[in-house]
């Protein structure tokens, strides 16, 4: 019974999250929904990072880089690829089954009006031309695949690196990516950011209600669904041999290999899977926000993910996910500045100071995070008692056997 407590709590928590958008009606509805969507986004990142760092022991500091690969893949895909029913004559285009695929030329941020690219010019010249976007879903899938592919390559490269070297290498990867995106302004538009279509550009009808593209409810459930999907995959992995092997790998790579575990394969696999998850989260978030800039790749963002996972409990991805949601909501709640004795306390900054302190205190005094031990209390609390009981039973049986023998 005790063991079910975390599961019951999880179901209740999930129930609250599902019901929330329908129950909550206050004036700041959109803002609160936005906070929660962002919280789910961080929850995906934190839980996948906890699989990578906590389960497999690969402390990667490049997780936001993979997130950025997912986001930028779909952004570039949706920004530069279009379909039309007739040739424009101005762009690079190719016909497949009567549909014209158009590659818009990269013009960077030189134009303030954004009408100078070939497609806009073609549209201006021929208003009858019907132009369509590429499907958003395809972009997200592509982003996820690219993230997984990058994770696979990085996983191969870091096979020989351990601990501090791994952290530095992945950090370096992430920084190179950020610098490249910032610098290649013609393609990525640098700090100006790439605009993306919304998740549901033409609106969506759910249960008889039509939501337009700015409504918060569809992206809320999309992100929540993605989070649940990721947690589902992670749970399945953790319970299968995969979870067992990557933990063995974390504990002792040589011993695992001597027992028949293909360590190389699982190390690369864990990178591929978790990075694909980060990329998927990034792609969905990019479409939800509608614009993406290299600032998403700042180390600050990585610190947030790491801190959330650590405070929740890095060796339990559920704890990491719930920790991320709670912390993100708390960070938003703490935004309100107040005055003390005529001196204004700027909480937008001070909350981050407390966040950093919380991270250090958690690391120092609660090695397994704040949430994970609670879960463990219920799932493993009985173990010590059971061990003693088993030993006593075994001893009693032994004694009884001796009595009988005598």
């Amino acid at each position: 019974m005790m063991r079910q407590v975390p599961n019951i709590a999880a179901v209740l928590f999930l129930g609250v999250l599902v019901a929330f958008p329908f129950v909550y009606t206050a004036g700041d509805y959109d803002y609160v929904m936005h906070v929660l969507i962002t919280a789910f986004f961080y929850a995906i990142l934190a839980s996948s990072w906890s699989m990578l760092a906590g389960y497999a022991g690969q402390f990667s500091f490049g997780h936001m880089g993979f997130m950025g690969i997912g986001a930028y893949t779909t952004a570039l895909f949706c920004h530069y690829l279009w379909v039309a029913d007739a040739p424009t004559g101005l762009c690079d285009e190719v016909e497949i089954f009567g549909t014209w695929f158009i590659v818009v030329d990269a013009i960077g941020v030189t134009s303030s009006t954004l009408t100078q690219d070939c497609l806009r010019e073609a549209l201006a010249a021929d208003p009858a031309l019907s132009v369509g976007r590429m499907p958003v879903l395809l972009g997200i899938v592509l982003g996820t695949v690219m993230g997984g592919l990058a994770g696979f390559l990085i996983g191969l490269l870091v096979l020989r690196l351990r601990a501090a070297y791994l952290a530095l290498f992945t950090l370096g990867f992430s920084e190179i990516l950020k610098a490249t995106i910032s610098a290649e302004i013609e393609v990525t538009r640098g700090q100006a950011g790439l605009e993306l279509p919304s998740l549901y550009e033409s609106g969506i009808t759910l249960l008889g209600t039509t939501y337009d593209k700015t409504a918060k409810l569809p992206p809320y459930f999309t992100m929540l669904g993605l989070l649940l999907l990721c947690l589902g995959i992670l749970t399945w992995l953790a319970r299968s041999r995969f979870g067992l092997f990557v933990r063995a790998l974390r504990e002792d790579q040589d011993a695992a290999a001597a027992l028949g575990v293909n360590t190389t394969r699982y190390k690369v696999l864990v990178f591929t899977i978790t990075c694909a998850m980060a990329a998927a989260a990034g792609a969905v978030q990019a479409h939800y926000i509608g614009i993406i800039t290299p600032n998403l790749l700042f180390l600050l963002q990585m610190s947030l993910v790491v801190a959330m996972a650590v405070i929740g409990g890095v060796e339990n991805f559920f704890a990491a996910a719930v920790g991320a949601i709670i912390l993100q909501v708390m960070l938003e709640l703490l935004r309100n500045s107040f005055e003390v004795g005529g001196y204004e306390i700027d909480m937008t900054i001070w909350r981050l100071v407390f966040f950093g302190l919380l991270l250090m205190i958690t690391l120092r005094f609660f090695r397994n995070g704040l949430l994970a031990p609670m879960i463990e209390y219920f799932t493993r609390g009985h173990v010590a008692k059971e061990t003693v009981a088993r030993r006593q039973a075994a001893e009693a049986a032994f004694e009884a056997g001796r009595e009988a023998g005598r």
């Binding site: 022991g57 351990r162 501090a164 952290a167 610098a179 290649e184 302004i185 610190s303 900054i349 950093g356």
Partner: protein, 422 residues
């Protein structure tokens, strides 16, 4: 760039042969049961520099890879990249103006000395505690901030030297207190993965310090006054060009190479402090104890050294070195709470390049990174792009070093016996 195809073609050729060389040569040495420590690096560099022509003799004769064979191909590779660049872009200022190149080189060297000095703190911490401090950039930032606040806000009019020393003292204190409070459980074996713990907890410190400073000091850039003005002079008076010309704000050599006053002061101070540090490490009991702990923790403990005390000293000293670098540069750059991010990354690059835990490696690595950055910013045709790429140059060096030669230039394979595997 006039013919980018030529340049990128050469680079691609180098990458392909470098990759081939690194794999093939290691296999070959492994097969012959020879020492493979340097094979990946030498293979990559000879492949990149000479292609199959360079690799074939190595493959056939498998010589012992001494210093000459390690350094020569690397230098040749750099030289060939430079040649390819000059052919591809003959009008570039780096190709046409020797004065510009000299100026860039001297400035790169000077800033490199400061970089190296800062990285020295990081490598000192690593060699004793076995952790990579992610708070190094924040110590740098705090050092600069303290100098500004001491000399401009709290005690206006104090001599800069006092402000700098005050900043160092406070940074030392922060480092010592943090080490006592947060890092001590690492030494008692209470932590399963001490290396990761060290990274995360210093990461937390960085986060806290950065936002604390931002909360207290605000997010607006501050800048400290120049510490001292140079006297105006020309020497020799009547030659043309004038060899040395100084103004209040800087020095010009041969009317070509100009170095700004704050940078020169900072570099000279760094060299002086470095010499003092070397004296400390090699001539005093404390320094010898520090080095002993970095060599073998347990043996040092048996010899009567308290390794815990040395940990505290090393962490505080390392932080203080970063703070000093910041304190000296606050007169050259405008200062923000985020200002430590890039120097921190650069320090990572330098210590990895030099070899984690190696003091001379850090210094040499600093100079190399300074030169690479100077070449990168000065010679890339598109200036705006070049500026955006600055953080990436170092990181490319870092990732390449980790791939080709994780021990860096002078690294020991298992640096710092303290906390096991790296």
């Amino acid at each position: 760039m006039e013919s980018p195809l030529l340049f990128w073609g050469v680079i691609l050729w180098m990458i392909v042969w470098g990759a081939v060389g690194s794999v093939v040569l290691r296999r070959r040495y492994l097969h012959r049961d020879l020492d493979t420590t340097n094979t990946v690096f030498v293979g990559a560099m000879s492949g990149a520099a000479l292609g199959p022509v360079g690799l074939a003799p190595l493959w056939l004769t498998t010589p012992k890879l001494g210093n000459l064979l390690i350094i020569a191909p690397a230098l040749l590779t750099v030289f060939l990249i430079a040649v390819a660049f000059s052919f591809a872009d003959p009008d570039n200022i780096c190709v046409t103006s020797s004065g510009f190149v000299a100026s860039q080189a001297v400035n790169g060297l000077i800033i490199g000395i400061i970089y190296g000095f800062m990285a020295l703190g990081l490598t000192l911490i690593f060699s004793i505690l076995g952790i990579v401090s992610f708070a190094h950039g924040e110590f740098y930032m705090v050092g600069g901030m303290l100098v500004y606040f001491i000399s401009a806000v709290w005690l206006p009019g104090v001599p800069p030297l006092v402000a700098v020393m005050g900043a160092c003292a406070i940074a030392f204190l922060i480092g010592a207190v943090f080490e006592r409070l947060m890092l001590t459980p690492m030494y008692r074996g209470k932590i399963d993965r001490p290396v990761e713990y060290g990274i995360l907890v210093t990461f937390g410190l960085a986060f806290t310090m950065q936002y604390f400073v931002q909360a207290v000091a605000g997010a607006n850039p501050v800048k400290a006054q120049r510490f001292i003005d140079f006297p105006r002079m020309r020497w020799p008076e009547d030659s043309d060009p004038i060899w040395v010309k100084t103004s209040r704000g800087g020095v010009t050599l041969f009317e070509q190479v100009s170095v700004s006053n704050p940078r020169l002061i900072a570099a000279v101070t760094c060299v002086l402090v470095l010499l003092a540090l070397m004296y400390l490490l090699h001539r005093t009991w404390t320094g010898k104890a520090l080095r002993a702990v970095s060599q073998d923790r347990d043996a040092a403990a048996i010899a009567g050294i308290n390794p815990d005390r040395m940990n505290m000293l090393a962490f505080a000293l390392g932080g203080m070195i970063a703070a000093l670098a910041g304190a000296l540069l606050v007169q050259a750059f405008s200062w923000l709470p985020q200002v430590g991010n890039i120097p921190a990354m650069r320090s990572f690059v330098i210590v990895v390049l030099g070899g984690l835990g190696s003091l001379p490696g850090a210094f040499l690595g600093g100079i190399m990174v300074g030169l690479v950055e100077a070449a990168g910013t000065g010679c890339i045709p598109d200036a705006q792009k070049a500026a955006s790429y600055i953080p990436a140059y170092g990181m490319i060096v870092l990732t390449l070093t980790l791939l080709l030669r994780p021990t860096g230039m002078f690294g020991r394979r298992f640096a710092a016996g303290t906390h096991g595997k790296f």
